[in-house]
Symmetry: C2
């Protein structure tokens, strides 16, 4: 059977109406609200065809039609109109991002917060993977008898530090020496390389003089590097789902919240997603537990390279047009905000 122009119009109308009302759409409603130029009876015939073709379903015999994932996909790919953000909204986004630019992580957190407010959905953001980020230098700073601070600076400016309890006595000179040696050994290597190649072993053999100190520091160094590889996940607007009719059922709300609270799994899903503006609808999400949800994500870039993601999760009945535009606008904005002019990197040590 062919998808005639008329059938497309009907799908469009049903999806648009259902996104708006959350109620199954009947033939009479359709013919009254939308100017299709045909009678309810004809619409019924067409709907029957469309059901056969897999675009519509029936909650029960005497209910209206509900779009299937396939219909949403068609709608997203071909039918929906491009949505231009109102200037007011653009202004809000610009201001919010600009005013929170001091530190990467807070910027992203605020962006996620704003996104959930603008869309009334649950939003999330992940920071970039640091795999390809190279180490720039390593510092060890004394705090007290048992504690030193390990500080790792990466080429892109990311800084991590940790207070370590080390079990051995040390002098300030030893610490400095060790830090310098570590910097010399690891500088310019990516975090992944340092962890996977045997550089660490090599290092331990090479420096004899304070191997005890090194032995105490190295496991923590490795741990810290590993934690640098983890992406951070921020979620905002969790309670927004209570405003969505689909989740006006305690079990569904619970399932949703439990799903997104499994942070590890959820992060994996996001990390493994393609870049660009990606919409996945229902079953396309690949997991049983997400079959009633749609995800929209887009990536933002830092210095044009490292890629993080920003997006929303909600019911398949979602305002795809508007939400996509907001996300796109925000990630573009973030990427340009994080674009530093490629100046010569300062050297030191």
């Amino acid at each position: 059977m062919d998808l005639t122009e008329r059938k497309l119009k009907i799908i469009h109308a049903i999806v648009a109406d259902f996104i708006h009302s959350a109620e199954p759409v009947g033939s009479r409603t359709l013919s009254k609200k939308y100017d299709l130029g045909i009678s309810p009876a004809t619409i019924r015939n067409e709907m029957s065809d469309l059901e056969e073709m897999g675009y519509l379903t029936h909650p029960h015999t005497s209910a209206g039609r509900v779009p299937s994932d396939k219909a949403y996909r068609l709608y997203v790919n071909h039918l929906m109109e491009r949505y231009e953000l109102p200037e007011e909204e653009k202004r809000i986004i610009n201001e919010n991002i600009q005013s929170n630019l001091t530190e990467l992580e807070h910027t992203i957190e605020h962006a996620a917060e704003l996104l959930s407010e603008l869309t009334n959905l649950t939003s999330f953001a992940i920071t970039p993977r640091q795999d390809a980020n190279k180490l720039k230098y390593i510092n060890l700073l004394p705090v007290d008898d048992q504690t030193v601070v390990l500080m790792i600076v990466a080429e892109d400016g990311k800084v991590i530090n940790k207070a370590l309890r080390i079990g051995v006595p040390y002098t300030r000179e030893n610490l400095e020496l060790l830090a310098k040696a570590m910097t010399q050994t690891y500088r310019g290597h990516t975090i992944s390389d340092v962890l996977t190649l045997d550089i660490i072993k090599y290092f331990e053999n090479d420096i004899e003089v304070m191997s005890r100190l090194a032995k105490s520091v190295m496991p923590n160094f490795i741990k810290t590097l590993e934690s640098m590889l983890n992406v951070d996940l921020y979620m905002e607007g969790l309670t927004n789902i209570f405003s969505i009719p689909e989740y006006n059922d305690i079990d569904r709300a619970r399932m949703f919240l439990e799903m997104v609270n499994r942070k590890k799994d959820f992060t994996d899903v996001l990390v493994n997603r393609d870049n660009g503006v990606i919409i996945t609808i229902g079953d396309e999400n690949g997991s049983e537990i997400m079959r009633d949800c749609s995800l929209i994500t887009a990536d933002y870039r830092i210095n044009g390279r490292l890629v993080g993601k920003l997006g929303v999760i909600g019911p398949t009945r979602m305002k795809y047009g508007e939400v996509t535009s907001v996300i796109k606008y925000m990630t573009d904005n973030l990427s340009s905000a994080f674009q530093i002019t490629e100046g010569e990197l300062k050297d030191d040590e």
Copy 2:
């Protein structure tokens, strides 16, 4: 009217039964399940008295009795039996805390997670206020043309750093000079003092030679100090509330989640609580929105001084005895884990 021994026994039985069953307790049930030695009719008379005295309430005429906040308070203060943690549970707590000791924040996060698992409630933890923490030294490290890393180390070993975008050109020497000057000026002062007294102003006037650089760094320095004063809040087991009959209602679940998601307000409540093991029941929480909840918190100490808190929130019908024991055991354990031998603090710079 007097609280006779018998009345106390009845309150005890009703509270214990209701905590367990979540159903209003009737006189027949009571006389059958608990060996009170009196008939249902007598119990009814007593219950009627207790209702008049404010210890019990009635959802409706023909329902059993439900304890009031006042009854819970009496139960907590005088009636409940001390609960000794099973060795198995102690072992789990010990192991969990010991194995996550590398860094303060993760330790606390894990503790909160464990607490929610053990109690099946929503748990939370806040890190200590840093008001009285003194600055130890300040570092400025070059990253690239526009970016430097500001690093602040406090006396207790807490380290904060932030990548700053500064708008002025700088040299490594200038940075070092500024950092040294800042360290000299602020070392030994508490964070609060630095922020409230006019030390910052004083500093700006004093150092003339690179005032432009300083002017660019100082606002960020202040911001960073302010953020050091904030306590971090961790929450775990949010979805546990869905397993609690009281919240088997979409609106109540929603209200609960929205309440605890207002992180700022919730943190304030926690920060302003007394130290020690504190139980607040229903109305005692002071806010309309928490009148159906009880909170149990206890503090943990770091080096015997700075105080953070760990606790749970749940319905007033809560296993006060068990939960209190778990929290107490965990915070004691945390405090001793965070107790460092007071060695002489290393000096540098």
